[in-house]
């Protein structure tokens, strides 16, 4: 069973080709790290996969009707936008919208999904706080909880751990890994290659307007790929404490 299949996806914006001929598929139980330098097209790819951007080629998600898609995949955009001073609880509850008919009130199943999302992100003490008064990292956790409350087989998150403290970064990656272990899947764009190497089951590397590599972290984070697409050298080791990846130096850019 595949949760998502993308084939030959090509995205043009303002006459520039951002990504060309991207194909991959996502099965259940995967935590996929989407990596690449700034401007490699990570956000663009995720938005096109969701059907939020026009693209040539096919994405099984983009082909779905809007409500069905919202029940299949949750999306956490990079911009941490909250327009109104609503409570944390209300904000998390917005994730249940695709499961509710027009005018249908929140039911027991919805309540359970909201509670588990709040508990999973450690938001119990914030429940009644006003979302717009939270710190950036706290707000990020609330928005992740909102995405989890949508309770979809697939979660796409754009830099979900940017701005979190180390403990919450690890906790969030573990949470996504937990989703994968439970048979759901997540695609997260991420700049911290160390965390990506430790927690992701698979990495997809974007560079030069295409999908460069797709596979296990050890197969993607090769010295050649790092030099060519990130301009860095790094130390990568498998230890008893798990894989350890540490960027070392910048390769002179010509």
């Amino acid at each position: 069973m595949t949760l998502l299949s993308v084939s030959g996806l090509t995205i043009h914006r303002r006459k520039r080709t951002i990504l060309r001929d991207v194909s991959f598929s996502v099965g259940p139980g995967e935590l996929i790290g989407l990596i690449g330098a700034n401007g490699a097209g990570k956000t663009t790819l995720m938005r096109a996969v969701l059907g939020l951007l026009p693209a040539a080629g096919t994405s099984s998600l983009a082909a779905l009707p809007q409500t069905a898609r919202a029940q299949q995949a949750a999306w956490m955009p990079q911009a941490r936008e909250v327009a109104w001073p609503v409570s944390v609880e209300r904000l998390v509850a917005l994730g249940r919208l695709p499961h509710l008919g027009t005018g249908q009130p929140i039911g027991t199943a919805d309540r359970a999904a909201i509670e588990s999302a709040i508990a999973n992100m450690g938001l119990e003490p914030f429940r009644h706080r006003t979302a717009t008064n939270l710190s950036g990292g706290e707000l990020a956790r609330v928005l992740i909880a909102r995405t989890l409350a949508q309770d979809t087989p697939l979660v796409l998150a754009d830099e979900p751990i940017a701005g979190l403290d180390p403990a919450h970064q690890i906790q969030t990656m573990r949470l996504f890994a937990g989703l994968a272990a439970a048979g759901r899947s997540a695609i997260v764009s991420i700049h911290d290659l160390g965390l990506a190497a430790r927690h992701c089951t698979r990495l997809i590397l974007l560079g030069e307007g295409r999908l460069v590599a797709d596979g296990a972290p050890g197969d993607v984070l090769t010295p050649d790929n790092l030099t060519e697409h990130f301009n860095i050298t790094a130390h990568f080791d498998r230890t008893a404490a798990g894989p350890i990846f540490q960027p070392l130096d910048v390769v002179r850019m010509e």
Partner: protein, 327 residues
């Protein structure tokens, strides 16, 4: 939540009753109310049914329209400073009315003015939709609205500027201040269907506006069709504001202040704010229309003047409160 609805409904009912029994005829309150329901053959029944009832119904419907349209516009643009006039419908309706007064159409035919205003509103909204394009971000809608408002405002000024007749010019100026005086049941029948349709359209936006709290991208991924939402918003707003302006002139500040005032009471939820603002708007306009009759009964004080006089200080207070919260 339901408590707020009960309180607001109670206020609206009380003010509605007040609007029916307060007036220059100075009849006892109970006699007035009974004359409304039972035709006792006195002029009081005529006063109640032909003068006060249409006036109260229009205040209620137009207030609800402006309140709900304001809440919808603020929710869609995610900006507490948005107001229903933003998409240019009230200015283009006003232009239609001004042309009707200037050309004598308003005098020649009883419904010349409201129909011309409605025609202006329809043209204005079509122009806004054409300029904003079928899809796209909210910013294009704001820009299109500004263009149409500015154009309609300039043409209105041009008509006043070139008006050879000082009486028409003063009539135009007074009409633009907004009023509910001397409106008949015919005005009610003209405006009510459009206002009803618009309110129903706007009420369907609740869910989409809730999702928009998270931004356009996230809302779309939550299954909200933004293209349809924007079209419903524009058509709904155009219907209620166009009909309101056509029968009552331009009444400002209600759509801006009421949602702002009620937002804290609904936990800032843009969906719940829709009906709350409809009730709040109805209450504010009923109260303003009572004030008009009580404060200067002989001077024909204009409704739009009162809402602005009450609304501006209220808004200043809100800005001051916001500033303190920011500090």
């Amino acid at each position: 939540m339901t408590r707020l609805m009960l309180i607001l409904s109670g206020i609206v009912l009380a003010l509605g009753a007040g609007a029916l029994v307060i007036g220059p005829a100075n009849a006892p309150y109970w006699d007035s109310l009974s004359a409304l329901f039972v035709d006792d053959g006195t002029p009081l029944t005529l006063v109640m049914r032909e003068i006060r009832l249409p006036r109260a119904i229009l205040a209620l419907a137009i207030g609800a329209s402006l309140g709900m349209a304001g809440a919808a516009m603020q929710g869609y643009l995610r900006n507490p400073l948005a107001d229903p006039g933003l998409i240019g419908v009230s200015s283009s309706a006003a232009l239609g009315a001004v042309l009707a007064i200037q050309t004598g159409l308003a005098a020649a035919f009883a419904f010349g003015l409201p129909l011309a205003a409605l025609a202006g509103a329809v043209l204005g909204v079509l122009l806004v939709l054409a300029l904003a394009g079928p899809r796209g971000a909210s910013i294009t809608l704001i820009l299109a609205g500004i263009v149409v408002s500015a154009l309609a405002g300039a043409l209105t000024s041009l008509v006043l500027n070139l008006s050879p007749n000082p009486f028409a010019a003063s009539e135009i100026v007074f009409w633009m201040m907004g009023s509910l005086a001397d409106r008949s049941m015919d005005h009610v029948w003209l405006a009510l269907p459009l206002i009803g349709l618009g309110l129903v359209l706007l009420a369907t936006l609740a869910r989409g506006l809730e999702a928009l709290t998270l931004g356009e991208d996230a809302a779309q991924a939550l299954g909200v069709n933004l293209t349809r939402l924007r079209l419903t918003l524009v058509v709904g707003t155009a219907a209620v504001v166009g009909a309101s302006t056509a029968v009552a002139g331009t009444i400002g500040f209600v759509g801006l202040v009421v949602p702002h005032l009620l937002r804290p009471f609904v936990g800032a939820r843009p969906g719940a704010l829709l009906w709350a603002s409809a009730l709040g708007g109805a209450a504010m306009l009923l109260a303003a229309d009572i004030l008009v009759r009580v404060v200067l009964p002989t001077k024909d004080l204009k409704l739009g003047v009162v809402t602005a006089l009450v609304g501006a200080p209220l808004f200043l207070h809100l800005i001051y409160k916001t500033r303190r919260q920011m500090a």
